[in-house]
Symmetry: C3
Subunit: 212 residues, 3 copies
């Protein structure tokens, strides 16, 4: 098991996304197995999607560490989440760290396999956002996608900066850290200060039955 | 970049599905990045699913045009959707064009790879419907699947007619146009005149907690 | 078409999951094509996911029997579901049989391909639960994941027992039957007697806007 910085980022991303999934399970008052399930789906969903799209062997099939990390994190959260004052806020901050880590990991794998900067940015964004989207869909939480603060943009910033750094010939550690920092600062700023783009305000959608 | 008629159908399908995704984003008052995200997922979701199932390289990984089309369409819709009187109706009509285009494209690829008419029809239906289902799920809209008018049936008509035409030895352009026309007429008739099959009317489902 | 016991379990699982999908369609008063669609997605969704993750050819692409089974079951349910007193209860019991069959099938395929017991358990659980999760998501039913009775645990029990039996050198029929029985008894007990693990009761989640 090699442990270069990019791999560490990967394990860290899995651990924090697993914790965010387990916190969603605690909000829904599921049992321990529900914690394991939501933690695993959240943590390995994005990377699974990335590997399937790139036609690579799925990362956790060849390395059981990932699934075991999810299991350990889920158990730890099961026995400690009641001590957390606002599980929703903690979930969002852990999600922000995972988002930053996976935007770099997803872009790095996409770029390594295809050499295409466009694919690199897209796989970065999908890897970073897909696990959280799945978590919210399965837990019946309001989707992080539809909330007003910046979310996908942070993943886009991280994936883009990593890709540009790599194209500019920076070493992987430097462009990886730059991408991680960019994504985390953007998402963290959105959480802390409510940063948001001007949204499409003109008119909210009507329900289909209200349209004449 | 070859531009035979089937490829054009593919680009057109991506563009109209992207527009339908962007209109869903405008109904939910998302920001520009939300428009890009929903447009891309809607437009390339069905084809991605098709390629993964057929174990082919995913179409947009090898050709960045698709992602760029989604980006351009999302930006155009962001700056023009407020001029549309009923975004929901426009969304449904664009969805109908995309449904027709992708029912043919999905069937063509499934038939070319496996030679099986059953697989051809199934991949046609899945390619045509999956992007719109994802869009509705992610945007929290009422799923087009559950609405009373004919939807999946239109995709089934297009995929089946294309497959039969191809088996009968028609040139791809002819069977492709026949399939496209069939799917669009069926779905368009459903939208315009409320066509619906006799549905399963006997009793609506009860909520689980109401069952003794 | 070989018909060893494991294959029979596979066909039986597809048939009962198809019936559960068709019953969900009847609860939502869909038309016959809606029955076909939900039956197919429920019945072949889990196995499709398993094969994609294991990088195998998707099982129903090479063998049309599966899709035809779904079609026949959907039509039968369309013409008979109104005679069933509680379609929701029947749906849950059919789902339990499918869950048990697919927990073994999924584990067997995962173990055969990778040799890893961890992967075997994970693919068993995912194969068994993914079809039902998709059915509930697409039909807008309360997700079986979030209900208090034991669900994922039953799949875990079946996949684990099969994997242990296989590692212990039991013949496939014996470990398969043991896994099937374990999963069905656990899930059946949950349905019949309301078995549930102690769930995470301390505090229900608040809505994000209620958090100060």
């Amino acid at each position: 098991m090699s442990l270069n910085p990019i791999d560490l980022l990967d394990y860290a991303g899995v651990a924090v996304f697993a914790a965010s999934g387990a916190l969603a399970a605690s909000r829904k008052q599921l049992d321990i197995i529900g914690f394991l399930f939501l933690a695993s789906v959240t943590a390995i969903g994005g990377g699974t999607f990335r590997d399937v799209i790139l036609n690579l062997p799925v990362f956790w099939v060849g390395n059981s560490s990932y699934v075991l990390i999810c299991a350990v994190v889920a158990v730890l959260v099961f026995f400690s989440a009641h001590r957390v004052e606002s599980r929703w806020k903690l979930l969002l901050w852990l999600d922000a760290i995972g988002l930053a880590a996976f935007s770099v990991m997803g872009a790095a794998k996409g770029l390594a396999i295809t050499g295409s900067p466009v694919v690199s940015v897209v796989t970065g964004v999908l890897t970073a956002t897909f696990g959280g989207i799945l978590r919210d869909l399965l837990a019946g939480e309001p989707s992080v996608l539809l909330r007003p603060e910046i979310y996908v943009t942070a993943a886009l910033a991280g994936a883009t900066l990593f890709t540009l750094g790599d194209l500019a010939g920076l070493p992987p550690l430097a462009s990886g850290l730059a991408g991680f920092a960019a994504a985390f600062l953007v998402r963290g700023g959105a959480l802390k200060f409510g940063w948001a783009f001007p949204s499409y305000k003109s008119r909210p959608g009507r329900r289909p039955e209200d349209i004449p």
